[in-house]
Subunit: 390 residues, 2 copies
């Protein structure tokens, strides 16, 4: 836990099969006008929309609808949402959906009363928020991003071919989030598995950094072992409540700032993956899975001790009679085997990437400096080519 840092997480969580029961009491803290934000309408099919609307009405709220949030929410959609929130004099933004819906809700939350172009200010220039913020609450129906308990918000600008995440301060964190694991049961398999890897990647981006002895790394090893165990059960039986509830909880704690404390963090898999996403609109978690093994094999020599520790503590590799390189490599081999087993996409070609896109994707990848090696543009191209598979 070297270094100086602060920790504050004001989001209140309601967890479990009965979690939605608490929505009514939470709503009493906010004014009458609620912007109801959701995605493509799956919540209308599975009944969650009706339940939420019925609670909103019983609390005498005015509902301003804002449906159609896409998997990678766009700057254009954000401008529309802000207009709707402004015109509706919204007192609370209620996000019902997955990470994209929560991310979008937070973007609208800070952007509605922003006096300049919010894309420029909050995404391109990543400035601090100095305007009025509309409070956000979440009803989570999909897990992975951790957006329900953090200040992160990723927006895509197709015109500029940029997908950028801003990490806002704790005044932008959702005020409350409702986490009912059964809401995640009906998610299509592809999205479910992509979400699983998004969680794993969040942990690994924070784990593979720093050389010091840090409690956060031990916590992350625990989270990873629980995640691997529960995801194996969930791919066999998506309605296993115990497994799905563990996964939902891990997703939240993987990216709510706790495990990053006292550490540097990497995030290069996300930077490259997001650039792939900006070119292909591919599912976020799958862009991460396709990049991860090539990326980790590339940086392994620069963080060998940590990759060795990872192999032993997370993947139960026996170190006896092996070199450090062999132990570390075996860890990544076991990780890859697990990833193929649960059905993740393992190359970016499958996500629609063509050879012609590679230069643009590499140039669109923001380079971070918290990992074991600061990548050059050529390094990224090498990783991308490796990610194209055979």
């Amino acid at each position: 836990m070297l270094g100086n840092f602060s920790y504050s997480n004001p989001t209140k969580l309601y967890f479990g099969e009965n979690a939605l029961e608490h929505l009514g009491a939470e709503l009493t803290h906010y004014g009458k006008n609620v912007l109801l934000v959701y995605g493509g309408g799956s919540i209308k099919k599975n009944g969650i929309y009706d339940q939420v609307v019925s609670i909103l009405k019983s609390c005498d709220k005015e509902i301003i609808e804002d449906p159609g949030v896409m998997p990678n929410p766009t700057a254009e959609k954000l401008y529309q949402g802000c207009q709707r929130a402004r015109e509706g004099k919204v007192d609370l933004i209620l996000a019902v959906g997955g990470g994209s819906v929560c991310d979008y809700a937070k973007a609208v939350s800070v952007s509605t009363y922003c006096e300049e172009d919010p894309w420029d200010k909050y995404y391109l220039r990543m400035e601090d928020v100095d305007n009025k913020i509309i409070p956000v609450g979440c009803v989570l129906t999909m897990v992975g991003t951790g957006s329900e308990m953090n200040g992160g918000s990723v927006i895509t600008n197709h015109e500029q071919k940029l997908k950028i995440g801003h990490v806002f301060g704790d005044n932008v964190f959702p005020k409350f989030s409702i986490l009912n694991p059964t809401y995640t049961f009906t998610l299509p398999r592809y999205q479910m598995i992509a979400g699983f890897f998004d969680i794993m990647s969040h942990i690994l981006e924070q784990y593979f950094s720093g050389e010091d002895d840090n409690t956060s790394d031990y916590i992350m090893e625990g989270l990873l072992k629980s995640l691997i165990h529960s995801t194996k059960i969930a791919v066999e039986n998506p309605t296993d409540y115990e497994a799905r509830s563990n996964i939902m909880w891990i997703a939240t704690w993987a990216l709510n700032t706790l495990v990053a404390k006292g550490k540097s963090t990497d995030w290069m898999v996300h930077m490259i993956g997001q650039s792939v996403g900006a070119y292909t609109d591919a599912t976020h978690g799958m862009t991460l899975s396709a990049i991860s093994i090539p990326y980790y094999r590339f940086i392994m020599p620069y963080g060998l001790q940590k990759f060795k520790r990872y192999a032993v503590n997370v993947w139960d590799v026996s170190p006896d009679g092996k070199t450090d390189e062999q132990i570390a490599g075996e860890g990544l081999t076991r990780m890859e085997r697990y990833m193929r087993e649960i059905g993740l996409v393992m190359n970016i070609k499958e996500l629609g990437v063509t050879e012609e896109m590679l230069d643009g994707i590499a140039r669109g990848s923001f380079i971070m400096d918290g990992g074991y090696k600061v990548l050059s543009n050529d390094d990224i191209l090498t990783i991308l080519k490796d990610s194209m598979g055979e």
Copy 2:
């Protein structure tokens, strides 16, 4: 993560060697009158008192002194503190010290405007707080209790020979806590080691409960491994910043409600240990260490699978060719060896317990029902006799 629960932790933490720099900014949120609560005066010797007072004065605060909080704060002291807080029209209680000082600050926080006897209402009857609460901030100088980020508060009534903890809601949690690991460097060895075991016991009380597959158990295994690793370093070199900072962070997360989520919890070691403390005034962590091995050997048959998991995942016991009982037993043997190594008290006789006290201690132990066996009075006597050592 079975079951329904909510999670909310509003305490803001400032961590690191420079953490005290944030005190001034925090003080601006509160009124002029500050009750400055501390213990026997060690903070005057090591300079922390002067630093804190200088910040309070530079923020133009009126300081009402409340020194002399004893290691096991008493009901009598609580009554005095409430009078002082009331007369001083206190806007903030600033606790500078260890867990007892923080516990006491929280007790004064809820009791000052309590219209009846606060010992009766909040400790004997454990009622909810329905009166005005004075906000609390902490500057931590000793680790172990986790009091800096939770609602717990233990008070001892010597007349009634009762030591009772009340776990208050998140409105009683400290508003902020300042955690500077270097403040813990000067603690006498005995107190340091007792604090280490207090942390371990907090984790184990929550770990040894329930049979389901719960992410909280994986997190606790990570915390335990980090704790064992760092405490071994710290007993060799108490000023090892990395080790002491990890330990400080683990202490906070061991008992700030996170790892209890979705679980039943036990707390019988604390219940028996607190009863020992009420009779002897022994250091809290040492009462726990003296009770733990006899208690865990006693309940092991009732939670065998968890004790086996504990042995393998935390103490690296190889399960090959052994019965479950052997594996589980070997885990406790390794734990006992570690405890002796770091210098913990391993029997209650050494803490001043006599044969004549045993009946009273057993009767004074509140019986909880979250562990693997609900103890009878005879069971507690058996454990106590075993704890008397040879």
